[in-house]
């Protein structure tokens, strides 16, 4: 073959796709197909898994022009990576969109739900410790732990700063496990609660309406407090709350709608295919990545356990008991976790409607995950010195 190529140099150009093909490419095609299957047939986070799956396919064609890093011939996925992920732009834009979609009124009515959300971030730190025990560097371990924030943009934001080489697997793990919340959370909750605890009813008291002024001042207040505690988190929490203030101000409905629809859709599309573009076989088919996928699942289990056990702890001191299942909604996977727990309660007792409480905790998870992300962002450089 080599002599043939020497004799006919143009053959090299013509056959480069075949010549460069390795088993890793073929395995990655299977992984791309799996992601696309999960998106299309199983409806698992299709907005992300479909573009990620297709991006991974483009990245795993030998000599693919889509991911070329040759100066002057840069592939579009490489250009998107440099312009949207390496500089953290895409996750920030996604946060603006999420903020515009969030309704914080359940959280404002019952601020105590934020405690469950804080407890459900425990998975971040437990997983980071486990990752270091498995041999990961501190920066990489902390970035892996962030999968436990159950918040894709925060994962991407932290990884793009401290674990760029792990960005692909971290993103895939974060979004895959978010879509698997209905499978991961119920067995953990059942293992940690008794049947009678799962049947605890939480009444619906007459609740004050939240004034427009309060709704408007809430994002400003959160930005100021979080920003002063961890200035490095201002980009994350600031963009989330900027999106929210577009919505609650009531004066820029067109911008709020644009953030919720056009911006969200466009950035999700670009983010997904760009992450897929980072999943080359060389980077992805490693023992390290297999361990990251395992640790991602562990992070979600720890989070769920943290929230549930914290609710059980609170119950020791309360006369009016809380259904401990709502503690599990403190993860940021919104609104999926809230719905899963509400369904579980109904399954245990068809007259037990806890969705309002579950969604309140789930909304608080959005804020807590960003706070946790901000603290990790601040602590990684400080402790890595």
């Amino acid at each position: 073959m080599e002599s043939l190529l020497l004799q006919y140099p143009w053959l090299d150009e013509l056959l480069m796709g075949f010549i460069g093909l390795t088993w890793k490419h073929v395995v990655m095609w299977a992984i791309s197909a799996l992601l696309i299957y999960l998106a299309v047939k199983r409806d698992y986070e299709p907005n992300l898994l479909l573009p990620i799956g297709f991006g991974a396919l483009l990245a795993n064609i030998p000599s693919s022009s889509a991911i070329s890093q040759v100066v002057g011939e840069e592939g579009f996925l490489w250009v998107l990576y440099k312009g949207g992920i390496a500089n953290e732009l895409f996750p920030i834009l996604i946060f603006i969109a999420i903020g515009a979609m969030c309704d914080f009124t359940p959280l404002i009515r019952r601020p105590i739900v934020m405690l469950f959300a804080a407890a459900a971030q425990v998975g971040i730190f437990g997983t980071a410790i486990l990752a270091t025990l498995m041999g990961f560097s501190f920066e990489h371990a902390a970035s892996i732990g962030i999968i436990g924030a159950a918040d894709g943009p925060t994962t991407i934001y932290v990884a793009s700063r401290f674990a760029q080489e792990l960005l692909g697997p971290l993103s895939v793990a974060a979004y895959s496990y978010m879509s698997l919340v209905p499978i991961i959370q119920p067995p953990v909750i059942k293992a940690l609660t008794t049947e009678s605890e799962r049947k605890i009813k939480m009444g619906y008291s007459e609740e004050d309406a939240v004034s427009k002024t309060t709704q408007f001042l809430f994002p400003l207040m959160i930005v100021l407090i979080a920003g002063i505690v961890a200035p490095i988190s201002v980009a994350l929490i600031g963009s989330l709350m900027f999106g929210n203030i577009l919505k609650v101000s009531g004066v820029v409905e067109n911008l709020s709608n644009a953030a919720q629809n056009e911006l969200s859709n466009l950035v999700t599309l670009l983010l997904g295919i760009t992450i897929g573009g980072t999943m080359s076989g060389e980077n992805f088919l490693t023992v390290q990545v297999a361990m990251i996928m395992g640790l991602g699942a562990v992070a979600f289990v720890f989070d769920t356990a943290g929230g549930v056990l914290f609710a059980k702890l609170l119950n020791l001191f309360r006369t009016e008991k809380i259904n401990p299942m709502i503690g599990a909604c403190g993860i940021s996977a919104f609104p999926m976790s809230g719905r899963v727990i509400a369904k579980m309660a109904l399954k245990e007792d068809p007259s037990n409607f806890i969705i309002q409480h579950a969604i309140g905790v789930n909304v608080a998870g959005q804020v807590a995950s960003v706070v946790a992300g901000g603290l990790v962002l601040a602590l990684i450089p400080a402790l890595a010195k």
Partner: protein, 46 residues
């Protein structure tokens, strides 16, 4: 204990209590905000 493990444990020891303190401040500030600006009758009807 390995350096990376120690750093992770330190991160947890600092971040978890800090997070609960920050969340506590959020709770307090949110409660005060909600009380300071109660909904008007019109807003309650909505």
């Amino acid at each position: 204990m390995d350096g990376a493990v120690l750093k992770s444990v330190t991160m947890m020891a600092i971040a978890l209590p800090t997070m609960f303190i920050v969340i506590g401040v959020f709770m307090l500030a949110t409660t005060l905000l909600h009380k300071a600006f109660p909904a008007s009758d019109d807003e309650e009807e909505e």
